[in-house]
């Protein structure tokens, strides 16, 4: 039994066999297998060689003989290695004699050969180590690709363990069987965390070396309340956790009971609670949990896990499905926010050195107009089906906003010409996610129908902290005075311009921040669906008067620690079970 401590990012308890997803970008840890599994692993090795040969043969054929056929030569050499029986035997012998996984045997063998080359004095020969790494990666890609498919075709419940999870990977999960997530990297707002919360499954991140401590088939307990992962727990621990898990479920049940009650403060102020969703099938969950609409409909899922861009009709159908669930309640569709993710970067000709400051989100859309217009065409077409609003992400200056709106007008003209019906008065808002947008909110508010504060990026850009980097993730906090001052500015400017302002970042689903947000003037909150009952419970337990007082005190404080302690104490008094 081994206990690992990380950061709890999605509540709940899961006890399940684990499934590891390795990545060819990281060192493959040594993992033991049962002797009875050895023949299967050896078959995996053979299959990987075969597939790699197939892939490389295609590549080689596609190369022309320019540059003296040098590139073709490299592929030809790599092919000889893949055809080399003594190489394959060395790998399968390692699987057999040491009972290790195919991935580990491939990686260890190729690296051993690489280091043999690297040791040679002759520069020409020592550089051949690079070829060995290339062959290693090619084989691992095949092996790991196969394992990833396993996640798509699960037949029993598992907890997924990985170094980190990309949107492409999570989009492919068979979500019926994935019962928990645990990753080495990540922070409170990493993709893993967001996905886990939206699926309502427990998750723990920032476990540092968890993937090196586990083997496939181990049992793990993921405690998403306390941020603990227990590898191969003993009987007694399993029993304790089963009891604890039941108690937790009862609390959840109790909260579900307030679903039908309105989100109104004790002094009678109505707060609108909306859901953040990624997939159309999450829309139902928003209703079940008592949400009144969609405040953030992420549309990236349409692009992930597929080779070609989605068609206009595919966009339309996804939107129509979601809007159908909500009828005439609001559905705010955010235009696609791609660019900084691994998926887009890997498709790029040359990866950007600094993707989060690069061509992402609205910037990416404004340079890929065909794609952007196609999505807006579909949204506009769907706008007659309900109360649809359009939201542009990552607007960082007025120019971008005017450009995006102009393109929307172009698409409207197209629809007019095609005689397609759409809502001509569709509301158009922006996400405030950069300090520049927050500081110029008064200007942006003149052209927008609403503002929605995306706290995740706003915090990252304000504090210059990568939220996924476990070395600095403790610096990432919504309670930082700099962040709070920007948020207050945005709220005040929106009020002056008499337009709606909401918060849709992770901050809005953290109980300790709710009183503060209400106190700063927020009346609409969009959050991850499983958290709606708990947040509603808090709203129903406070008065706006109390919240105003709390906000005034907080905004006079100068340190993050002081603020977060104060907020936690205040929230604990209201909902003791949650803390």
């Amino acid at each position: 039994m081994e206990i690992k401590k990380g950061i709890a990012v999605s509540p709940g308890i899961s006890i399940a066999k684990l499934l590891i997803i390795d990545s060819e970008d990281y060192r493959i840890p040594r993992r033991q297998i049962e002797p009875s599994q050895r023949m299967m692993e050896i078959q995996h090795v053979r299959d990987a060689f075969k597939a790699a040969i197939g892939e490389l043969t295609e590549f080689e054929a596609a190369q022309d003989d320019t540059e003296g056929g040098k590139i073709k030569d490299i592929f030809a050499v790599h092919l000889r290695f893949l055809h080399d029986r003594s190489l394959r035997k060395r790998i399968t012998d390692l699987v057999y004699s040491e009972s290790v996984t195919a991935e580990y045997a491939v990686s260890a063998t190729m690296r051993e050969i690489a280091s043999h080359f690297a040791k040679q004095k002759d520069a020409y020969i020592s550089e051949r180590a690079a070829d060995m790494y290339d062959i290693e990666r090619r084989l691992l890609k095949q092996l790991l690709g196969g394992r990833r498919e396993d996640v798509e075709h699960l037949t029993e419940e598992v907890a997924v363990v990985a170094r980190e999870l990309s949107p492409t990977q999570t989009a492919a999960f068979n979500r019926k069987f994935v019962k928990g997530l645990a990753t080495d990297a990540g922070g409170r707002t990493s993709h893993t965390a967001i996905v886990a919360r939206s699926l309502g499954i427990p998750a723990v991140v920032a476990l540092e070396d968890l993937t090196e401590c586990v083997s496939g088939g181990d049992t793990v307990i993921i405690d998403g309340n306390r941020g603990i992962v227990i590898v191969n727990p003993d009987e007694q621990t399993i029993q304790q956790y089963e009891e604890y898990s039941q108690e937790f479920a009862q609390l959840e049940h109790k909260l579900d009971a307030i679903r039908e009650k309105p989100a109104v403060t004790r002094d009678g102020v109505k707060i609108t609670l909306l859901g953040n969703i990624e997939f159309p099938d999450e829309a139902e969950m928003v209703l079940q949990k008592g949400g009144e609409g969609i405040g953030l409909y992420r549309t990236e899922f349409l692009y992930l896990n597929r080779e070609s861009e989605p068609t206009e009709q595919e966009h339309y159908e996804a939107y129509a499905e979601t809007i159908g669930v909500f009828k005439h309640r609001p559905v705010i569709i955010r235009t696609v926010d791609l660019g900084a993710d691994k998926y887009t970067q890997s498709k790029r000709f040359a990866p950007e050195p600094n993707p989060f400051l690069g061509l992402r989100s609205i910037r990416f859309c404004l340079q890929n107009l065909t794609m952007f217009k196609r999505q807006m065409h579909a949204i506009l077409r769907a706008s007659v089906l309900g109360d649809v609003k359009i939201m542009f992400p990552l607007i960082s200056n007025l120019q971008e906003m005017k450009q995006a709106t102009m393109i929307l007008r172009d698409v409207m003209d197209d629809l007019n010409e095609e005689s397609v019906k759409y809502n001509k008065d569709v509301e158009v808002g922006i996400m405030v996610e950069t300090p520049s947008a927050a500081l110029t909110a008064s200007t942006l508010a003149r052209d927008a129908d609403f503002l929605s504060i995306g706290t995740n990026d706003l915090i990252q850009y304000t504090l210059a902290v990568d939220r996924g980097n476990e070395l600095v993730s403790t610096l990432y906090s919504a309670a930082d005075p700099a962040v709070l001052r920007l948020i207050r500015t945005v709220i005040q400017d929106a009020h002056k311009a008499q337009i709606d302002v909401s918060v849709c970042g992770e901050m809005a689903s953290e109980p300790e921040y709710i009183m503060l947000l209400l106190g700063m003037g927020i009346r609409t909150i969009s959050l991850t669906p499983p958290m709606i009952p708990e947040i509603k419970q808090i709203i129903r337990s406070v008065t706006v008067q109390d919240c105003n007082n709390l906000a005034r005190t907080i905004l006079g404080m100068n340190s993050e620690r002081q603020i977060s302690n104060y907020l936690r104490d205040a929230a604990r008094k209201i909902l003791p079970e949650a803390f």
Binding site: V77, R80, S86, R90, I113, F117, Y124, R128
Partner: protein, 109 residues
């Protein structure tokens, strides 16, 4: 050719001592040429330097010899076509030197 099917293969053993003459040594492309030629023959082919003896038909093993210009290697072939194999491989290494420049005819920079 001369052998009939029921006969066991004639046991011919051939050896040759060769020296690597191309400037860049037995790097990947030469190693590939070597195993490609070696693989055309039925006989077993081994190649040795001072320390190791490896399979002349395995690119992994051949390239791991890391033979630089000037290195002496012993090629040994066993089997019916051993003589042809050794002749062909010696030709590749010493006469054609893998179609690459030798230090003497390499351009001075």
């Amino acid at each position: 050719m001369m052998q009939t099917e029921q006969d066991s293969p004639q046991k011919v053993v051939c050896e040759a001592l060769v020296q690597i003459k191309n400037a860049e040594g037995l790097h990947m492309r030469p190693a590939m040429q070597f195993v490609d030629i070696a693989s055309k023959f039925d006989c077993d082919i081994t190649v040795s330097n001072d320390q190791n003896t490896v399979d002349g038909k395995s690119i992994m093993q051949m390239s791991m010899l890391a033979a630089t210009c000037g290195t002496k290697l012993k090629i040994k072939a066993e089997g019916a076509d051993a003589q042809e194999a050794v002749d062909a491989l010696r030709g590749l290494v010493e006469e054609k030197h893998f179609d690459e420049p030798t230090p003497s005819n390499q351009k001075k920079r």
